[in-house]
Symmetry: C2
Subunit: 347 residues, 2 copies
């Protein structure tokens, strides 16, 4: 019986093109022979926006729907006003495909530089809610541009939305050796949303008696991320807090050059999307300088999501081995790193 993997590929802007090419190279090398890989490339991002004014049309969403998963490079360019591509493409897609589990693992691998002293142990996963909180676009402005302007942003939190992501996080924590889940919020100030999150968290906890639980305010969480990151195993948090702490988490665990992420719809009703945490880095685009590691690790998350666990592990092991040797090697180009990883995963 032959299997197939039908992938939407969105290279996007800047270094997106280069890193996605390497991600696909490693994917081809790791996939079992009997899996038929089909890829279709989509041109989204700054180029398309400048040419047509479009970021993501309904027809685009329909086309993307037909794939098993989406691999994204990076979207964003200084020539496009801040927010246009972020809201018009990235967030639109997360909402259209109900990507409510935004998965961001952080692992400090041997040999990788961290800004923290003493090479601490870092191995945790952040489960960031992806479809609610202050990201819904709710809010507005009155008296715009006048001295009496008032602008509001509304964070919307539902029991439905919080419960499904909290349950997903508990399941992930249960599957890990330490079985520990930390809720990060700011329930001492944001009392309405904070009460909902805390309450749902405590309720779902009863279904997972073997998972140790913990609560930390978001401000204190940033302290622990630099003074005691080993205390974290799985973290579940709101969309905005997750945005903030995962950038910090990426920074302390080797930088955004190696940070992968998944925008996941666990129901499978819509394809999930996998992307490096880094942006399009237009300053180094086209020079073969970008590190494709974060994209390659995103391919591992993609494979795991689609059930190819052994292949995901092979990629992760290959990346660990490659990073561990970097200190003793001369700098390599984007494609040289991709080649090296392809050889390792095939071997």
């Amino acid at each position: 019986m032959s299997r197939s993997l039908n992938l939407a590929v969105i290279p996007g802007d800047g270094i997106g093109q280069e890193v996605v090419a390497e991600g696909l190279k490693v994917l081809s090398a790791v996939l079992p022979q009997d899996v038929k890989l089909e890829t279709k490339e989509y041109d989204f991002g700054a180029r398309r926006y400048h040419a047509t004014g479009e970021t993501l049309t309904d027809a685009d969403v329909d086309a993307l729907k037909r794939h098993d998963a989406i691999l994204l490079g990076a979207i964003g360019d200084p020539s496009v006003p801040s927010g246009v591509l972020e809201r018009g493409f990235l967030l639109k897609l997360r909402f259209a495909f109900d990507h409510h589990v935004n998965l961001r693992p952080s692992k400090l691998l041997p040999g990788v530089a961290t800004p923290l002293a003493g090479q601490p142990e870092i191995d945790f996963v952040v489960v960031r809610e992806g479809t609610e909180g202050p990201y819904t676009g709710n809010g507005g402005t009155i008296r715009k541009g006048t001295p009496h302007e008032v602008a509001t942003e509304v964070s919307v939190n539902t029991a439905f939305g919080v419960e499904r992501v909290v349950r997903d996080a508990f399941a992930r924590a249960q599957a890990r050796p330490r079985k520990k889940l930390t809720l990060v919020h700011k329930n001492n100030v944001l009392a309405f949303a904070g009460h909902l999150w805390t309450n749902v968290f405590n309720q779902v906890a009863e279904e997972f008696p073997d998972v140790t639980t913990d609560y930390i305010h978001v401000d204190a969480a940033t302290i622990y991320l630099v003074t005691d990151p080993a205390r974290f195993d799985v973290i579940v948090t709101d969309n905005l807090f997750g945005d903030i702490i995962t950038d910090l988490a990426a920074a302390v665990s080797g930088g955004i050059g190696v940070a992968a992420s998944g925008n996941i719809n666990p129901s499978g009703d819509f394809p999930s999307m996998f992307e490096p945490v880094h942006g399009s880095a237009p300053d180094i685009a086209g020079q073969g300088k970008a590190d494709p590691t974060a994209t390659v690790l995103s391919v591992a998350l993609l494979l795991r999501h689609l059930g190819y666990e052994a292949e995901a592990v092979r990629i992760e092991d290959a990346v660990s081995a490659d990073l561990g040797e970097r200190g003793s090697l001369p700098a390599r180009s984007t494609s040289e790193i991709g080649d090296a990883l392809s050889v390792r995963v095939a071997g």
Copy 2:
């Protein structure tokens, strides 16, 4: 002519008592002879809440109003439900006295341990808005406790509120050697508030042509705080982003044991309040183990705010000298550190 300084003192909970005692000791030692220091102690916090159910009454606010400034130790105890004292006392006072400039300097002093590798240069000030954003208590809950609960939090931002804190931050940046101001927000996602902040920032910038400006998203700011903190001089930001990044800033610049803060009303219509960033640390309360340095540095901010610049500098120099020698000294008690600093500032 004799001058007077009429101070409200709120020791509060846990280690608050001990550290405030040392703050007052150093204050007495540094004040010029002709300044008559009057202090009145107020009992707020967990004890009062358990005894009377009160956190801060209108009569309390009226009494506090009559002072030149307020020195606070710490408020909070595990015996009180999360949020009660935070919202009922700390935030209530910030709003009652319109403390819109929440000032939080971060300076890594020689000899002080940081979790960052390579002892980077850190010397910046965060000007956090203190009376708007998601801290206003706007929002609500429907269908509480049911599977259909919806909880909202509304971030309220006004041109009036943003402009006054942005202008204050520009003035502070202009008075520093590097003259650089960074706006931290998330204007690519929180477009209503983000537009207001960015627009006002750019407008006020025209009045300060000698100040270099910069914009960074809050998620990226957490990366720079650990990889390149030297890039920051003055930061101005929203209430919630300020809460988060100042805890991280404190962590990287020597820990919350040395982080001071001011809740300032620059108009002088109401007294400003000065407090260490740390909490009440009930686990070490009453043991003489707490480091009073953050409180002593808060006293320096208090003195500077009231015009005693030379005295503020003397305290800061004394703290620098004391911290620089700690590595070679045996551990000291709370009051021994206070004594040592008192001797230095008097000397």
